[in-house]
Subunit: 752 residues, 2 copies
Amino acid sequence: MAKKSNEYLDVDPFKIIETGFHKDRAMVSESIFSLGNEYAGIRGFFEEGYGGKSLKGSYFNGIYEYALKETENAYRGIVKRTHFTINSVNWVKCKIEVAGEVLDLDLAKIDSFVRELDMTSGLLKRSFNWHTKAGVISLCFERIMSMDNCHEMLQRITFASKNEVQVKLAMHLDSNVLHWSKDCYWNREKEIVEDNQYGVFTSTLSTDQSLLSLMQIETKEEPVNSFSLDKEVVVEYDFQLKDKTTFTRYVINICDKTNKDNFVGLFKQAKEELKCFVSKGYSQMLSENQAYYKKVWDSSDIEILGDPKNQQGIRYCIFQLEQTYHGFAKDNNIGAKGLTGEAYSGHAFWDSETYCLPFYLFSNKEAAKNLLMFRYHTLDEARKRASDLDCVGACFPIATRNGKEGCNLWQHASLQFQPSTGVVYAIMHYMNLYNDKEFMQNYGLEMVVEVCRFMLSRGQYNQDHSGFGYFGVMGPDEFQMMVNQNTYTNYLAKKTFEYLLELVESKQYDIKSIFKKCGCDEDFLKDIKEASAKMIILYDDQTKLFEQHEGFFKLPHLDINSIPTSDFPLYAHWSYDRIYRNDMIKQPDVLMFMFLYNQDFTLEQKKANYEFYEPKCIHESSLSPSIHSIFACELRKLDEAAKFFEFATRLDLDDYNCNTCEGIHTTSIAAAWMNIVYGFGGLRSERKTLKLAPTILPKWQGYSFKINYQGSKLLVSVTQEKVTLSLEGNPIELKVYDQLITLKDKYELMRQ
Amino acid sequence: MAKKSNEYLDVDPFKIIETGFHKDRAMVSESIFSLGNEYAGIRGFFEEGYGGKSLKGSYFNGIYEYALKETENAYRGIVKRTHFTINSVNWVKCKIEVAGEVLDLDLAKIDSFVRELDMTSGLLKRSFNWHTKAGVISLCFERIMSMDNCHEMLQRITFASKNEVQVKLAMHLDSNVLHWSKDCYWNREKEIVEDNQYGVFTSTLSTDQSLLSLMQIETKEEPVNSFSLDKEVVVEYDFQLKDKTTFTRYVINICDKTNKDNFVGLFKQAKEELKCFVSKGYSQMLSENQAYYKKVWDSSDIEILGDPKNQQGIRYCIFQLEQTYHGFAKDNNIGAKGLTGEAYSGHAFWDSETYCLPFYLFSNKEAAKNLLMFRYHTLDEARKRASDLDCVGACFPIATRNGKEGCNLWQHASLQFQPSTGVVYAIMHYMNLYNDKEFMQNYGLEMVVEVCRFMLSRGQYNQDHSGFGYFGVMGPDEFQMMVNQNTYTNYLAKKTFEYLLELVESKQYDIKSIFKKCGCDEDFLKDIKEASAKMIILYDDQTKLFEQHEGFFKLPHLDINSIPTSDFPLYAHWSYDRIYRNDMIKQPDVLMFMFLYNQDFTLEQKKANYEFYEPKCIHESSLSPSIHSIFACELRKLDEAAKFFEFATRLDLDDYNCNTCEGIHTTSIAAAWMNIVYGFGGLRSERKTLKLAPTILPKWQGYSFKINYQGSKLLVSVTQEKVTLSLEGNPIELKVYDQLITLKDKYELMRQ
C-alpha cells in the first residue's frame, strides 16, 4: 500500500490539536477542523481570509445545483447533467485591520498558535498572538454549530492586548461564493440591514431552492457602519482595544429546499429563532452541545487502552460521522466527503448503506431508518433510472444527492449495481436488528421488489439457458471495468432474490398489493426463483476460490509490489486503459461479498480467498484496508490485521492518502468503526442472531465498544485475557465464539 | 438490415440528376452534389442562400482546429482536445434580388428545376425559372473546381429573361462561417478590394494556418459598389436584365498550412494564378477537367450491363473517391465523409488503408503510396501516442487529421488497434503489387518495426506464459467493447510480427539501422518470434469457427430480427451499455480478418464462419455489407451477395442510412468498388500472385472492371458465360480460378 502517515497534530483523547500553524498543511487542516451538524457543514478555513491555498467551503445538506454544461457524447443512459452540493454562504467571514495591516496568516507575524477541536462539544477554537506595528494582539476565534437546533451557528472573536490599539473589524455574510473555485450558483434575492440584524437571502440558479442567513452581533463596541452589497452584508467596527473585547455573532441559517419565493415566511421564522438564540447566549449553547455529545459518547464510544493515537483517531471518526449525519431528516444522506469539501460533489454512494449504516444500526435506530427512507423517497428516480437503462424496476444511482444518477462516467453509472443490491442488504440488516414490520410493509418491501425487478431485467441467461448472470458489469473493484459474471454482482443478486422469496414465504406481509403497485407480471416470482436457482457463481471446489469474474484467473499477473510508489495514485500516472488488464484489484470484491454474507462461508474458504486476493489489492480505495483487516482478524493473522488497521482511524488526521485537503473521507472512516467492532470485536450481524468473537492486538492493553441492541445497551470490553459483556436493559440472546448465550447483566469469559 | 432506399434522383450512366427541387431532401442533395479536388471540397448548397435547413460547408484538406473546450475526465491516455477540419470561406456566396424579393428556394415560386452533376467533367449545374413580381427569370448556376490546378475554382451565374427586369446581385467572399453551426474558427487578417480583385485573408485561431481567397468577376455588367466587411468582401451589381447576362467568378483559394504570416507571398502567388486563370477562361477549364476525367474513366471505370442504377451508383462512388483523394499531396488523407460535411470531423480512420487503399493500389500508384506516406509523416505523433498509452513503438490513431489522436472517446482511442496493424497490412499490400524496395527501406520498414514494437508492448502473456495476446481491447466490431483475445486483433498482430520476420529473413533490407533508429533492444526479434508463435487464436477445429473473443460463444443470444426497425440506429435508441452484452455484432470482425488474409483459410472455414457470424450482424457500420457480399460471392450464395450489394453503390444516392445529409460516406463507397472487384470479380491481392475468380449476378448481362497491375492495364469482362481478360502492356502472371496463367493480350475462359 502506497500510503504513509503525515503526522502533525498533537495526541489527545478527546481533542484535535494543532500547535503552531502548519502552513504546508493549511488545506488539510481546513478539512480536519470542519464543523457540521448534518444540516450544514463548514470547513475550518480562517474566517479573516487567507492568502495561501484555501477552500472556503460552507455546505448545506440537500442544497444543490446542476452542472452548467452537459456531458459530451451523452448517449441514452448516460447522464447529461450531473448535480452537486454547492458552496454556500460564508457566515464567518470577517476582515481585521490594525495599523494598516490586514490580518492574513499567510503573511502575518504570529506566535503561540493553537487550534483545537473539542469532541465533547463541537467547539472549534483558534488562538494566537499577532505582532503588529501597533503592538501585540491576542486573538481567539471560536466557532460552533448547534446539534439540537440546526439553524443556530455561532462565531466568537476575542481580542486582547496589553497596550491600547486601534482595531478595524468588518463582519460579513457573503453569498458571493464560488463552487469549484469557478462558478457562483446563487442568484441575488435580497439583503437585509435593519434593527441590528443583517441578512442575505439568495436562491439557487435552477433548482428552486433558497437560503436565508440572518445574524446579530453581540459586543460592547458600536458599529461605525453597516451596508449591503450584491449578495453580501457588512458591519464595520473601528474600536480602541484595551484589555479585552469580544464579538459574538449569532447566525440563523435556514434553507428552503423546495421553494425560492418564501422570503416572508423564512424571514419571520429566522427573526424569531435569532431572538431565542441571542437570548440563550454562548454559554448555554455550549452546554447544550456538551450534553448532546455526552449522550453520543455514552452510547457509542470506543476505548482503546495503550494506543493513544488510535484512541484519538477512532473518536475523531465517530465525532465526524455524528457531525455529518445523525438522521434527523429523511432527505439527508452521507456524502463521501461529508460536508467538508467539494470532491465527490456531496454525493452519497453505496458507502452509505454498506460502510456507514452498521454504525448507525448499533447506535441510532432513527438515523439508520432514515438512511433507508432516503432511498424510499427517491425510489421514483431509481425507477426512471432503470427505465433509462432499458430495464424495469428500480436502479439506485451510483452517486446522488437528489435521487437522480449524478455520475456522468457511464462506465460506473451504467455498469455498477452494488447500490441497488446494497439497499436490499441494508433493509435486511435493519430488519435483523429491529424487526420493524411496519417499515417493511410500508417501505422496505416495495424497494426489495423493485430492486428484484431491476436485477431480473438487467440479468441474462447464457446460450443454453443453464445459467443466469450479468454481462457487461463492473463490480465493487473498479479496476475490472466491463466484465461478465462478476461474482459479487451475481452473489448479491442471488441473495437479493432469495430475500424476497423468504419474505414471501414468511407470510407476514401483504405482498400482493406491492406486486400490483409495482406492476409485476404473474410469472414474476417464478422468474425470480429460476434466476436465483440458476445464478452463475464461479467457484472452484478444489482451491475453494471464487473467481472475481469470468476470465479473472486467466488475466496476466502483475506483481503489485513492483509498482513504484511514485506511480500512485494510478489514475493520475497510468494510461487509463492500462489499469484494467491484469489481475491487480483496487479494492475487495470477492472478499466484499464474503464480508457481507460472512456466515455463508467456511473459515477455509475465507482463508483461501483472502490469501489469493489480498496480495493483488492495491487499496486505491480508502474503503479497502478495513475490510482486509476484518478478515485478518477472523483468520487471526494479527500482524496483517494491525497493518491494515494502521491508518483506518487516522486516515485524515495523518493525511495518509495525501488528499484530505479536498475534504475528509467520511464514509471511509465509518469503516474504521467496523474495523474495530467487526474486526477485533468479531461482530457479525447479517443473520438474525448477533455473534461476537473478539480478538485483540498484542500491543493493546484492552479495548471496549458500546452497541445498542434490541433496546439494550451492550458494552463489550476485551483484554488480552478475557472478554466482558455488560448489559443495561432487557436480556438478549447472542453468540459468543459460536456459543449461544442469554446475557442478563454481565458475562465474562476467556478471550479466544 | 434496417436500411431502405429513398430514391429521388434520375438514373443516368454518367450524371446525377435531380429533376424538380426536393425540398425534403435539401441537405441530402447538398451532400450528394458536393464538389472536390482533394485540395478542397464544397457542399452543393445554394450559393444565393437558403432559408430551410442547410449546411453551407466549404472545407480545405488539412486546414483544421482544436476543440475550444477540453474533454471532461481526461485521465492519462485520454484525448484532452480533439481537432477537426474546419468550415472555411464561402467562395460562392451571392444574393439576388428582384422587385424587392430576395431569391430563396425555400420560398420562391419556381419551375423547371434541374440540378445536374456531370461525372465526365465535375461540373455542377442548376437551372430553374423564377417567377418574380417583375416577370419570369431563368437562372443557371454552374460551379467547378479544377482537378489539375487545385487552387482554381469557378462559379458562373447566368440570368435570362424575355422581359426587361431590374436585378440586384451581390457576390461575396465570406469567412464568417460557423463550424458545427456554432463557432467561427477564423481570425480576421485582411480584406482586399483593389483593381477589380477582391480578397479575404484569414488565419486559424490556434493552428497557425491561413487561407487567402482572391476573386475576379467577368461580366459585361458594371459593379455599382464594392466594399469590405469583417472577414468578408462584397461586389454589388444592379443591372437591367434583357435576354441574357453572365457572371463568371474566378476564385483562387490558397492555404498556407504552416504559416499564418505569409500574406505577401501568398498574395503575390494568388494574383499571378488568378491572372492565368482568367485568361484561360471557363471553356478551357471545363475541357481540362473533361480530359482529366477521361483518364480516370479510362483507367478505372466499371461497367455493369443490365443494371443502370448500379451502373450510375458505382460510377458515383469512383467519381467521389477521385474528388476526395487522388494522392497529389503526401499530407492529405481521406476523411470518412471526404470533404462533404463535418460529421467525423474530417478525420481519417483505418478505413483509409483497409477500405480505400485497394482502389488506389489498382488505379493510381502515387495516390496509394502517398496514403502510406501520410502515416510515415505522422509517425512521430504515433510514437507519442504509444507513449501516452504507456507503451513503446508507434500507435496510429483511430481518428486523425494531423497525426494526433483525435478521438476523445477513450473506449475507442485506447482499445482499438486496427489502425496500427492496418498500416502494416497496407505496406504489405502495396509491396505485393509494386515491390517498391526504396519505399520499404526508407519508410515502410520503420513503420513496420514501430508497429511491431507497439503491438509487442501492448500485448501480454497469460499466467503460465503459454499464450500471448491482447487484454482489454475492442476489435473492428464496436459492439463488443472491452474484451480479451479479440481474434482480429491477435491475428493481425501475429501477421504483423510475421511480416517483419519475413522482411528480416529476406535479407533485402538494412534492418539493423532501422532497429537502431527505433531503439529496439537486442531481444526484440526473439521477443517478436515468441509472441508470434504463442499468439492466442481462438479456434475450434470441430466447428471450424474462430471465436470473436474470449467468451463470445457464451454471450446471451439476441435474435437481431426481433429488433424493431424503429430501434435503429441503436446508439440513438438503446441504453449505451445494452448494446454491448449479447452476441449481436455491428460489423464484420472474424470475417474481416478472413477477408484480409483470405487465402489463409479454406472454403469450409469461410463457409462456417460466414454462416455463424452473418446472422448476428446488424451492419450498423456502412463498411459492413460489402464485406459480407464479398464472402457470399466466394461461397456462391448469390442471392445474399445481391442483397448485401443492393445498396453498396447507392448508399448515398438513395440515402439508405438516412444520414447522407451530414455528408457522403466516402470511405464506405470505396467498399462498393471492392464489392465488385473483390466480390464479383473474385480478386485476391494479399499474396504476391494476383488471383481472379469471377462470378456474376443472374440479373446482369455482364460487367467489367479495369485495374492497373505491374504497369499494365487489365480489363476484366464477365458475362453469364465467360470471362475475358484483356491486357495492355507487358505480360503478367496471375491465377484465374486457381489456375496460374501468363496473360499476354487476351485470355478467355468459361465462367465458373
